[in-house]
C-alpha cells in the first residue's frame, strides 16, 4: 500500500514543483530583471521551435544535440574502457597499483578545463581535443570506482572460489570482475553526468555546432534567450541520459536488487 502511494505521489509532486518553478520564473522577470533575463515562455518556445524547424546558427537543435552527444559518447566510452581496465588492474595487482596510483592521485583533482590550453597545443583545434577533454572526465571517475570495487571484493568470495578449485587466473574473470560491477556502474554513472557537464568546456575549443557552442555564441551575441535555451537543452538531455543509464543498470545488475 505504501509503495502504491509513493508511485502516485512522486509524479504529482514532480509536475507541481516544475510548474511552480516556471511560475516563479515567469513572475520574477516581470519587472526590472526582465531586461537581463528572459522569461520561461520565449526560452521554451525557442527550444521547441529550433528543435524541428528553425535553426540556431546554421543547424537545428536536434543536430546540435547530436553533435554534442557524439562527442560526449566518444570521449565517455573511450574513457570508460580505459578506466575499467586500469582500475581493475590496480585493484587486482599490487604492482600495477603501486606504479599507477601516485600518478592517478595527481591527475584526478585537475578539472578537465585546466587541460584546454595544453590539449589545443598538443592536439589542435579539431574534434580530437574535445573528445580528449571528455575522455579525462570519464576516465578519472571510472578508474577510481573500478579500482576501489576490485580492491574491496569480499575476501570470502575469493576463499569460496579457491575452495571450489578456482585458480588465480580464473578468479579475475569469475569473481573480481562480476563482484566489482556495482561499483563500476556507480563510477560510470557519475562519469556520464560529469562528461555531459564537460561538453560546454569542450565546445569552447573552436566549434560551430553543439550545445556548448549555442551558449558561447549566445554570449558573444548578447542573446539571453539563446543562452537559456542552451542551458535548458543541456539539462534535459543530461536528465534523459541518466534515466536511460539507470534502466540499463537495473537490467545488468539484476542480481543486486532484492525486488525487481
Amino acid at each position: 500500500m505504501k509503495k502504491k502511494q509513493r508511485t502516485i505521489m512522486e509524479p504529482i509532486c514532480a509536475v507541481i514543483s516544475i510548474f511552480a518553478f516556471l511560475c516563479l520564473w515567469h513572475l520574477g522577470v516581470k519587472g526590472e530583471l526582465g531586461r537581463l533575463m528572459p522569461g520561461p515562455v520565449p526560452v521554451i518556445w525557442m527550444f521547441l521551435e529550433t528543435m524541428f524547424g528553425g535553426t540556431i546558427g546554421s543547424r537545428t537543435m536536434i543536430v546540435h544535440i547530436l553533435y554534442s552527444l557524439i562527442r560526449v559518447m566518444a570521449g565517455y566510452l573511450l574513457g570508460a574502457a580505459a578506466g575499467v581496465i586500469l582500475g581493475l588492474a590496480m585493484g587486482w595487482n599490487r604492482l600495477v597499483e603501486a606504479v599507477f596510483s601516485p600518478l592517478f592521485r595527481i591527475i584526478r583533482p585537475i578539472p578537465p578545463i585546466a587541460w584546454i590550453p595544453i590539449s589545443i597545443i598538443w592536439i589542435g583545434l579539431g574534434e580530437d581535443a574535445k573528445i580528449f577533454l571528455i575522455f579525462l572526465a570519464s576516465f578519472c571517475n571510472v578508474t577510481l570506482n573500478a579500482w576501489s570495487g576490485a580492491k574491496n571484493v569480499d575476501k570470502d568470495y575469493i576463499l569460496a572460489a579457491q575452495m571450489l578449485g578456482a585458480r588465480k587466473s580464473s578468479l579475475l574473470f569469475t569473481i573480481v570482475l562480476p563482484a566489482s560491477v556495482p561499483s563500476v556502474f556507480a563510477g560510470l554513472q557519475v562519469a556520464l553526468s560529469s562528461c555531459w557537464a564537460t561538453v560546454l568546456a569542450a565546445e569552447m575549443v573552436r566549434s560551430s555546432e553543439g550545445l556548448g557552442w549555442i551558449i558561447i555564441a549566445g554570449m558573444n551575441n548578447n542573446d539571453m534567450v539563446q543562452i537559456m535555451t542552451g542551458i535548458l537543452a543541456i539539462g534535459l538531455v543530461g536528465m534523459l541520459l541518466s534515466m536511460i543509464f539507470r534502466k540499463v543498470e537495473t537490467r545488468l545488475c539484476r542480481w543486486n536488487k532484492s525486488d525487481s
Partner: protein, 255 residues
C-alpha cells in the same frame, strides 16, 4: 571383510596458530589434535570467538599453522583444494550467479563439460530440495534456502571432507531445527566426513557422532564425547537433555 577398519581421513597433530594484533601476539589455537575417520560427523563445540573458525580455515588451507601439521587423506594441507568443501558461516554465495551458477561453479573451474556439470549440479540441487529455483538469484532466497545452496555448492564438487562453519548461526530457532534435520538426511544419503563448527549444543548433540569440546582462547581440546544415541534423535529425550546439561556445565566453567 566384515571387520574392515575405517580409514582415517583427517589428522591434525599439535597444531598451534597465533595472529599478530596491535597488542602483540594473540594465540588462538594451542596444541590442537584431531583424528577423523571416513564418514564421521564431528562437531567442534565451544564458547564465543575461541578459534573454531580458525580450525576450519586451517583444514581448508586458507591459512597455514605456525606449528604442527594437518593431513587430509594422507596429504599435507598447504592450500585450498576441491577435496575439501567449505560451507561458510555467512554463506557467501556468489550474488551475481543463479542457484545453478553457484552450484556448478566448482565443476566449471575443473573444466567439466557443460552438459555433464549441469546434470551433476541438478542432482545436488534436488538433494537439498531446491528444484524449481535453479534460475533464481541468491538475493531472492530466504536464509534457510541460501544455506541449502551453500551446502549443494560444497557437495557438488564431491569433496571427501565437508567443513561447515556455523552454517545455521543466522537462522531463527525453528528454521534451524528444519535445517538440522535436512542436513542429517543429506548426510545419511551422501555420506561424507563432516567437521561442523557450532556454538549451539542442541545442534551438536543432534548431528554429531562425536563432539569435541574446545576451551576458550586459545582453543584446545577440552573433552570429547561420543554420541551413540540412535538417529533421528529427539531434542527432548531424557538422555539428550542429560548430555546437554553435562556438556553445557563443563563449558560454563571455562567462560
Amino acid at each position: 571383510m566384515p571387520m574392515e577398519q575405517k580409514r582415517q581421513l583427517i589428522s591434525c597433530k599439535r597444531v598451534n596458530k597465533s595472529f599478530q594484533v596491535p597488542e602483540g601476539t594473540h594465540q588462538v589455537i594451542r596444541d590442537f589434535n584431531l583424528e577423523a575417520q571416513e564418514n564421521e560427523f564431528i562437531c567442534l563445540f565451544g564458547p564465543g570467538q575461541c578459534g573454531k573458525t580458525t580450525i576450519i580455515n586451517l583444514i581448508a588451507g586458507f591459512e597455514l599453522p605456525d606449528e604442527g601439521n594437518i593431513l587430509v587423506g594422507g596429504e599435507l594441507v598447504t592450500e585450498p583444494g576441491p577435496e575439501r568443501g567449505v560451507v561458510f558461516q555467512n554463506i557467501t554465495l556468489f550474488p551475481w550467479l543463479t542457484v545453478m551458477g553457484n552450484v556448478e561453479y566448482g565443476l566449471k573451474m575443473a573444466g567439466v563439460p557443460k552438459q555433464e556439470r549441469r546434470e551433476q549440479a541438478q542432482k545436488y540441487i534436488d538433494l537439498v530440495g531446491l528444484q524449481g529455483f535453479e534460475n533464481t538469484f541468491p538475493v531472492k532466497l530466504s536464509g534457510g534456502m541460501r544455506q541449502r545452496v551453500g551446502i549443494a555448492r560444497a557437495y557438488c564438487i564431491e569433496p571427501k571432507v565437508m567443513l561447515m562453519d556455523e552454517p545455521f548461526g543466522a537462522l531463527d530457532a525453528q528454521t534451524r531445527y528444519l535445517m538440522q534435520e535436512e542436513l542429517q538426511r543429506i548426510w545419511q544419503s551422501e555420506k561424507r566426513t563432516v567437521i561442523f563448527v557450532t556454538n549451539n549444543i542442541e545442534e551438536a548433540i543432534y548431528l554429531a557422532d562425536r563432539i569435541i569440546v574446545l576451551s576458550n582462547c586459545p582453543a584446545t581440546v577440552k573433552k570429547e564425547y561420543v554420541i551413540d544415541l540412535p538417529r533421528p534423535r529427539k531434542y527432548t529425550a531424557p538422555e539428550f537433555l542429560a548430555l546437554r546439561k553435562e556438556i553445557t556445565d563443563i563449558v560454563d566453567k571455562t567462560l
